[in-house]
Symmetry: C2
Subunit: 345 residues, 2 copies
């Protein structure tokens, strides 16, 4: 049908511009040592021929390798384990692109430990992806890394005022609002209290989710009253005890929104009390557990962020920064997934 578009190569551009391959390469990669005039000629030739570099060839020829470090929490909740697995898969994808990743485990709940760990990374990596804590010391450590030439992306949890290249994760306020809307609409006008459990409000993502949830529920669903938030430290055992207390204190409880991890504990408490059908239970992160809870009807909705997407996106952003390639912002936007019993993947 249409004529096959013959590939335009650097050589074509060089011929068109009347210069050599190396010169074209220099202007293309913004390397120094080219006169303005020749650079302009080359640019013109590139534009005229519509030259598009062949990434495959570039990767093959490139000698330089890149080193990335993913800083992940020591904790072992299911989402983080999944994320780590996805980072591993991403690493395999990166190897042919001459990029290699290390994984560093750190107690992300402690800003000093995290900051110290980041400081130790200085000068050792081209790129760092970190589950951030929004704390002055951590911010400073990120800024230092950037100042020393590392690219830094925040992953899952942001430090917005730092000099990180980009945040790879969901909009947690919107996620909280989404949970709030689902809670409100699922309640169907039923009057009563709604409980919130979070890991820790020191975590920016948890605080934002709570904020978004309250905004919607308190603003638009007057039949619901949010109970004071309890902190479950993302620990199943603790969330189970908290849930037991809440259930005992509020026989008319309409719903529970779990902002963080520890869904297993909540489910256990609900089932032990025989109120799993009665209480709307919305939480985060699709795991083997939450999947089962959805199917059994214990959970009513799960808000999810795709760990695989996040790991790949962080890697792509870092790599693109290193090679100077552009990114497709649309592809890097992490979506807020809603899963019901019916659309579990």
């Amino acid at each position: 049908m249409s004529a096959i578009a013959e590939r335009i190569t650097l050589e074509d551009v060089a011929r068109e511009a009347g210069v050599s391959l190396a010169t074209v390469d220099r202007v293309l990669n913004r390397r120094p040592g080219v006169r303005e005039k020749t650079a302009a000629k080359v640019q013109a030739a590139i534009a005229k021929l519509g030259y598009r570099p062949d990434p495959a060839a570039a990767r093959l020829a490139r000698k330089e390798t890149f080193r990335f470090c993913f800083v992940l929490p020591t904790g072992t909740n299911t989402f983080m384990r999944n994320l780590e697995e996805q980072v591993g898969i991403t690493a395999e994808w990166l190897a042919p692109q001459r990029a290699f990743v290390d994984i560093l485990h750190v107690d992300v709940f402690d800003p000093n430990v995290l900051a110290t760990a980041l400081e130790r990374l200085e000068g050792r990596y081209h790129g760092v992806a970190v589950i951030a804590l929004d704390h002055p010391r951590v911010r400073a450590a990120i800024d230092d890394l950037v100042a020393r030439g590392s690219a830094v992306v925040t992953l899952v949890s942001d430090a917005p005022t730092s000099r990180r290249l980009r945040y790879v994760g969901i909009d947690n306020t919107a996620a909280g609002r989404t949970a709030g809307t689902l809670m409100g609409r699922f309640s169907g006008g039923r009057k009563g209290p709604v409980a919130l459990i979070a890991g820790s409000l020191a975590l920016r993502d948890h605080a934002e989710r709570q904020f978004g949830f309250m905004q919607v529920v308190n603003g638009e669903f007057p039949n619901l009253k949010t109970l004071p938030l309890r902190e479950g430290r993302d620990d199943s055992e603790l969330t189970r005890r908290l849930t037991e207390e809440i259930l005992a204190a509020h026989p008319d409880l309409v719903g529970i929104y779990n902002v963080g991890a520890g869904n297993r504990g909540i489910a256990a408490a609900l089932e032990a009390a025989g109120r799993e059908r009665d209480v709307i239970f919305i939480g985060h992160d699709l795991t083997d557990h939450t999947r089962r809870f959805l199917v059994r009807g214990v959970m009513d909705a799960v808000i999810n962020q795709d760990a695989g997407h996040e790991a790949r996106s962080a890697a792509r952003v870092l790599l693109a920064h290193c090679t100077g390639e552009p990114i497709l912002p649309e592809q890097e936007r992490i979506r807020i997934d809603i899963f019901l019993r019916d659309n579990i993947p």
Copy 2:
């Protein structure tokens, strides 16, 4: 930290196995002309060294180019226009991989026209992606294409009993169930009828969505009664008129589920009647229109399939088939997205 994993090349494998590059290449690409015993030696070496081929180098060296054809509907509803745009973007991504795509416009509502169009493609393309119609003639045309050596994937709408390589799209029954659950839960026990509008039940995806929806609503929400389905031919003008009729006939209407396109018509009729707050409106496909309807509160939920993902996935599946590379099934699964006002991307 860890030693950089040196890349293992074909040459390493050849040395380990005591053969030449070409021989390794032959067993790797399952080309004929190698004795069982040497093949086994090579396999052993590959396994021992953990060799992983470098796709970049392979693409660079490969002479062969591939031609794909995307068969899309002539109709111009927003989803299809978006899909076409995404196919265009995918084409740019394919060019460096030496694959080139043509787009063919066909009236997909007419099985004979579609089948004839497919028949004309025989022998001209390495791969074909088609919005299928589940009809004997279409099935036969697909099977013929496959018999003549083309790889065929069905896109968005499947022909399950054909010999297509794969279906790239969502599980429409599950999508209908998802809509049903949302409708039921959003209704909050309110008693009354629910209307269904589809493009045409001759389209397999529409029929399946309807089935899933009815399954859930009739089975689990006794407060709701589904009205007989009306066909709106995916046309806004027609769906508007149908909606007007439905609204007039059912002052106690609880909700409308639009299985196909034409959301604009329904929204217009709801707003004209001043019942947009009152009637739960759930439809498919996030577009500029439905996005606005969500924000305005006219629509309550939109079920979406990511057109960009579908286009890329179809391309990846076809290309992988041509080059003999494996695919990651997990990455090719098209998700059923739920969008509320709060999580619009």
